[in-house]
Symmetry: C2
Subunit: 322 residues, 2 copies
């Protein structure tokens, strides 16, 4: 949980969410329950439920109305993480062994499918068909983004638009949908729904840019995964795009990136070149711009406390170290 005073407005709600999450992953198969609970106990920021609950509350939604949605969003996020671990061959996440490491690929894959199906079950009980529609659209786009990331790996000739296309699908769309669906479930009017959707979008973009910066600058222990993992997989993120364009050492950087097998020294060298190029500062600047745009969308929110919380949440995304 985002165990910060930041979320004090919904701290007790998030506790309820956490409890319901544990209940919903209970399966008739003990192995499936164990794998799901393992994933759940590994923690996480519970950012998507938090956004759905906050956005829904801004629009006058009750906890009872918003809770199934909040749980469903975290289940979708968990499903995508467990699938990612299969294909990224990740053995630890957030410092603890992954489901893949403990139970293997087969169990991980079906656990992901199971969690996703469970989220559909929760969503299918809402009377408003737009909720399922929006989530289906986001799921389609998320898969397209993932494939695009694979298709463009080791592809040096990418620009910022290509990068934005990918991170929108990888991260921003689900965060945006979390805000939007909180509003939809609460029965918000169109204008407010649209503002919250945009808020989530901008915040999600900033979140992923920060994630990509942390992949180069983070402390492994805090960040929970090895530094330079994007570079290792040939994934070209914003700091790298900047360095490839502006660094006098761009040619050396390029030759390091396209290596299919990289040593720790290669990774270290590549990151140093990127840092010297100013790619990190530039990326921070882009993230800041998105955060500023996100905050601007909060003007329609009536409650000063809610507006304040969403503003501080935006600030958190920018300064986070994990």
């Amino acid at each position: 949980m985002l165990g910060i005073e930041l979320l004090k407005d919904i701290q007790s709600d998030l506790k309820v969410m956490e409890k319901q999450l544990a209940e919903h992953v209970q399966s008739t198969s003990p192995m499936l329950t164990k794998a799901s609970l393992h994933l759940l106990k590994a923690g996480g920021k519970r950012l998507r439920p938090a956004f759905a609950l906050l956005a829904g509350k801004c629009c006058g939604g009750t906890l009872e109305r918003l809770m199934p949605l909040a749980v469903a969003l975290e289940l979708i996020h968990m499903a995508s993480l467990v699938h990612d671990d299969v294909i990224d061959n990740s053995l630890t996440r957030r410092g603890i062994p992954t489901v893949k490491a403990q139970w293997g690929d087969k169990v991980s894959l079906h656990t992901g499918d199971y969690l996703f199906a469970k989220s559909l079950l929760l969503i299918s009980r809402y009377d408003n068909p737009r909720i399922a529609q929006i989530l289906a659209e986001v799921s389609v786009e998320m898969s397209q983004g993932e494939i695009q990331q694979i298709a463009t790996a080791y592809e040096l000739n990418q620009n910022i638009r290509d990068y934005f296309y990918r991170i929108k699908r990888k991260t921003a769309m689900l965060i945006s949908a979390s805000c939007q669906l909180g509003a939809v479930a609460a029965g918000a009017e169109q204008k407010l729904e649209r503002s919250l959707t945009k808020y989530g979008h901008y915040l999600g973009m900033a979140f992923q840019i920060t994630d990509d910066i942390l992949d180069m600058t983070g402390e492994q222990q805090e960040f929970g995964k090895p530094i330079g993992s994007d570079l290792r997989q040939g994934i070209i993120t914003l700091p790298t795009i900047y360095a490839l364009r502006h660094s006098p050492e761009a040619a050396e950087l390029a030759s390091l990136i396209i290596k299919r097998e990289k040593t720790d020294t290669d990774i270290h060298q590549a990151i140093e070149i990127i840092k010297r190029s100013g790619g990190i500062q530039y990326s921070f600047f882009v993230a800041e711009t998105f955060i500023a745009k996100a905050k601007k969308e909060l003007q329609l929110i009536q409650s000063p406390e809610m507006r304040n919380t969403l503003t501080r949440l935006a600030d958190f995304v920018q300064i986070r170290k994990f």
Copy 2:
């Protein structure tokens, strides 16, 4: 396509379905479109769309009303196949290279997620929320069944109930749901919906039992996958359960099954023991019983032609060789 005169009532409908299927997998990512079309061209019996269309027509549904459902059901089935190929390490299916073989695990996994999400998008546009609910429930159960198959691999102490639990989730539920949802989409009355649901269930059970028999007796070329693949993975199916109980060579069979690395000779020997035990005939008998039960459910259907088609479809499941 089930290119048999059997389906002449809906042959032109299935052609429309096939065309729409190809349209719906079009993606903004060329790699994703290629992988999906590859999967589509590999063919398949299109059994689930056929059941949905036939059941829906029995209940007076129009093609326009039933088509999105038919396409969605095949997309879900395709998604589960492409995920299966990842974890089963299958390099060919129906005699042609799998998506996994051609594009690798990452692309396969996301192609599966993409096809599933596409099916949700189609389903989310129906006004009747029961359609999404039933599919979500089936998806949850399908994952539970898959995990159960993993949890019980190499487990000699299984009985018929354990086996039925698994094949219900692996196969029967989606076929049953195809029939049921055809009826639901067509606005059938409860009694007819229930009969068609049961028809699909019994047929699905018979279908998987036949599949498990073919895994031991089929011709590789016709069946499209190597013989004995269940035994190789330690999956205990009905003929094996029978043999383990009734064969005088049960001890030898057991020692062959629990081997983690089996030679072709091991597989051959195990199948010979199972055949000598009468396990194949017994399984045929069980499948026949299910087929008879399926046919009994067709009494409520008004149209003699539709009843006839569904009866012959039941017969086909029993005598098929692929």
